[in-house]
Amino acid sequence: MNDTQTKKQYTALPFFGLGKLIKYIKKYKWTLVVMIVCGVAGSVGDTVIPLFQRYALNHITDGVLINTLGGFIALYIFTIAFKIITDFTASYLAGKVELSMLRDLRTLSFNHLQTLSFSYFNQNSVGYIHARVMSDTAHIGELVSWSMMQGVWNLTYLVGALVVMLRINAKLTLLIMTIIPVITVLFAIFQKGLITANRQIREINSRITGNFNEGITGAKTIKTLVVEDKMQKNFIDDTTKMRKTAVRAMRYRSLLSSTITFSSSLALAIVLWKGGNLTVERAMEIGTLSVFMSYALGIMEPIRWIVDMISDLIREQVNIERLTNLLDTKSDVADSPEVIEKYGDTFEPKKENWEELKGDIEFKDVTFKYPDGDEYILEHFNLKIPQGSNVAIVGETGAGKSTLVNLVCRFFEPTEGQVLIDGRDARERSQLWLHSNIGYVLQTPHLFSGTIRDNLLYGNPNATEEQIYDALKRVSAMDIIEKAENGLDTDVGEGGDLLSTGEKQLISFARAIIADPKILVLDEATASVDTITEQNIQRAIDKVIEGRTSLMIAHRLSTVRGADVILCVHDGKIVERGTHKELLAQKGYYYNLYTRQYEEDAMKSVFDS
């Protein structure tokens, strides 16, 4: 979805945006220093090891090797041990930093999300935000630890090898070094091609997944329309593109490694030719020649790694940017410092200062548009909802029925005007205070993984066993508990999916009752359930709204009929308003809606009787 955005953000940030990460890295400063030191040391070890071979070769004939064999072996073993220990430490620390950073960033972004306003959630899909929390953080953690370590290691090896080579024979080394700029350019070119191809692969891959998804969920329609061939053609187009792009990506990848192989051989040839001449002239010993060959072969891979790391950095910039954007986003709905001072913030409430909430709600000259929209949804809207009364909001799916609810819950704040709670502007008290007094029952009841009890206690962790059973009885949900394997402690599965929709509904009603809120917001389900469940739910609704101020996004006629005020929403605006009788008499939008629903109910009632 953010392809254009991604491309736009490719334009370089200074230091690849790493500056933005400094405050998160600081904590691991010393660990990173140790890691780098160990990385450098290990790399030095790698540079030194071929020297043993040189020593051995050079001193084969003169007998020195035999005489110093004990010392030679000891030193050799020591170097190996040193290298292993530093390598282990470096990679262990890199992993630790990676995972610790990952943990920190995830915690930070998750916590930050808990305080962001709803406009953020409306503008960004769950998938998008989820990817920021889960995958961007992972990329960054990896970048900071592994890429850094690899970079350091390779750079040190490269420098170390070059230094040793220069000391052995400067002219020969300089000759070999002429290869480096050429292959660096080649690496950069191939790398760029590879990145582009890889991005295309990801895009095509998600299309293929989408195709599978459609082909499977839409099987019925595809069969009835007899468009199997068309779908398949479409699919084959994508898989063909996939094959082409994947092969292209592999071409670049192979070119990269072929370049390494070839340039290594080139270096080797130079060493054999020039160095060989020197050896023939006795200006260079055979062991030195051999070790020179080892280095010449060894320096090409690090160059590739360094190019790799730079392109990594360029790519990761997007992740850094996106995550820091999330962390820097300010909430549209925020409590003022004075309010926080008195009532506490989201994580540290000062409950001792909280007033009791009675449940009077008033919209006073409210004008509202969504932060991301440009149309005014409410203009100078006035509505009084006295304590204990019910408001029903009706309208088609997608007509914008949640607006009023969003304002009452202070998920959004009015553009102009005020929402008064118990006569005072909602902004005068903390969000948590308001939310702790509001019960919310969703259309698609959202249960959390865990046990039934966990879910019931969600709104009031201190509820007693009696309160729980009382609530369950009131919404006739005792059956569910009795039927369940472990009673209240039965696991409900991810999103409560081990329960049926009807059961989830009832549990969420019970949850609302246990929280005992003064204001209740209810989004009724449209999904059809069997008659008995329907009746149970209806009874539950009646119980739940008893004695509370309630706002209901309603679909059931019985619910709507009983409401004190009905608001009809069409295309985002409130088009009609009144009691059931008044609205029917108008023969307008509500009348139409109601008739439709009524016909269906009529049929159901006859068939089910």
């Binding site: 007998g63 329609t221 030719w273």
Partner: protein, 611 residues
Amino acid sequence: MTKEEKVIKRKNKSRRLKLVWSFMRGSKAFFIISIISALISALIDVINPQVISVTVDNVIGTEEADIPAFVTEWINAAGGFGFFKDRLYIVGGIIILLAAIAVVFQYCNRVFNTKGAETLVKTMRDSIFSHIERLPFSWHMKNQTGDIIQRCTSDVDTVKRFLSEQLTSLLRTLIMLVLSIYMMFSMNVKMALIACAFMPVVIIFSVIFNMKVEKQFTVCDENEGILSAMAQENLTGVRVVRAFGRERYEREKFNKQNEKYTGLWIRLHRMFALYWSATDLVVAIQVMFIVIIGAIMCVNGEMTAGKYIAFISYNAMLVWPIRQLGRMISEMSKAGVSLGRIDEIMSAEEEHDKPGAIKPDMNGDIRFEHVTFNYDGCPVILDDIDFEIKVGTTLGILGGTGSGKSTLMYLLNRLYDIPEGNGRITVGGVDIADMNAAWVREHVGMVLQEPFLFSRSIAENIGIAKDDATLLEIRQAARIACLDETIGSFSKGYDTFVGERGVTLSGGQKQRAAIARLVMQKTPIMVFDDSLSAVDTETDSKIRCALKETSAQSTVILISHRITTLMHAEKIIVLDHGKIAEEGTHEELIKLGGIYKKIYDIQSMGAEEAV
């Protein structure tokens, strides 16, 4: 494991191989070229140290050459070793030439391997997709969407990863292993034995480690899943969290899991670091042995310096790839499991017509003759259904939830077949079971209550069933379905993308789009399965009038709960619990005074009076 299980396992294995073989059509040549290239480049890799060795010993040094006769002949023909001694650039040239050849073949090896693997995966994906599209509808109903998609995507990916990444390195490793061991033994048996003595240690270690780490990996993955699901749940349930003021609780819950996850990964990571360090140690010690013993052998004159250098090169070729073997083996077993899961889909039987299936004229009377039907393992849903629809007339069906009305239409559309002896459905006197299924579906158009739209533009959606649909026709169809105006209000008009990546249509809009789609099909038989339920009464009748005009020839079946929708039909049947309870025209049914009359009464009493 009993004998039987073993037989089944073997059978499965051979079936999987057969499956892979069938997927390999079109990619075998690529794989063969790739393997040959791998062989050639490996051979050159093996020759390289020899060139160096000969150069060091015989050209630069003065040792007696121990090389194949033809090479000696060739060297002598060129002027002996002395010739090369003065012209070392020729040696450099040979090395570059060899490298060039090796690089070309290396490139061929990888590119052709990818070509093979990608072609194979493409064939696999295409076959799976085509297969799934052609599986009977009952299969789709039986299997969970999520599970099938998982198999089609991540299992395919596992197989693909193995083919394109692991397989090449596995082959290369094996080739290099064989060649370098051969070279080492041919150079110096004693040293070769020492070098190889370490191999089993590294291999066994690698295999054991991979088995162990796999378990830990699974645990880590599970915990990542839990953490990810937790974030997902929190985000989708953000309203509930806020409304109950449980931000703090959510934070603590997430942080706890996050800590656990981090701890587990750090542990896994430590295992890896230990493993690599340990194998590094073994390998480094092995190299040390070779270096020292080799040097001593050189001192004792058992080996030349050049050979010593070459030997060390061969040893390097041998020792590093071995560490990867364990991982490759575990990847291979994973790919096998995935292949088995794919095979489960592929072995399900596709829909097929009876031999000699016919494509008769579909403009005929439709007859349901004593049709009885039940879904697998479910009670009877249709019980002895028997009725007729004259060609060009309209049939109305009224029925409650679970009365079997949708099943009736599934049967007519051949989504399910009626089992032998349970009655039949005929069109123009021909049993539809004897017809080509696609033929039947092409002539029976259906609009479902919750229509499925494809993630394409609206225009493409409406015109999907017609190959050469023009925008003019599409607009005409949309107009009949009262959708033209709505589409006009979208900023991109008919090019507006529908679905996840585009606009979300309301239930009513979706239904109307599906009706427009049906209009484009112009089928002689049209079924509306409760397909105007989300459209208001006025638009409903407008659409029906327009439809009547454009498709007067068609036989129409209307399923609805709205008497006003059904009352003008030539015949109406009332379906109750799988049986035809009432049958007749509107007037006849009213006179009858049964279910139909009751519903009619309540509905026509109107909403106001009902209060």
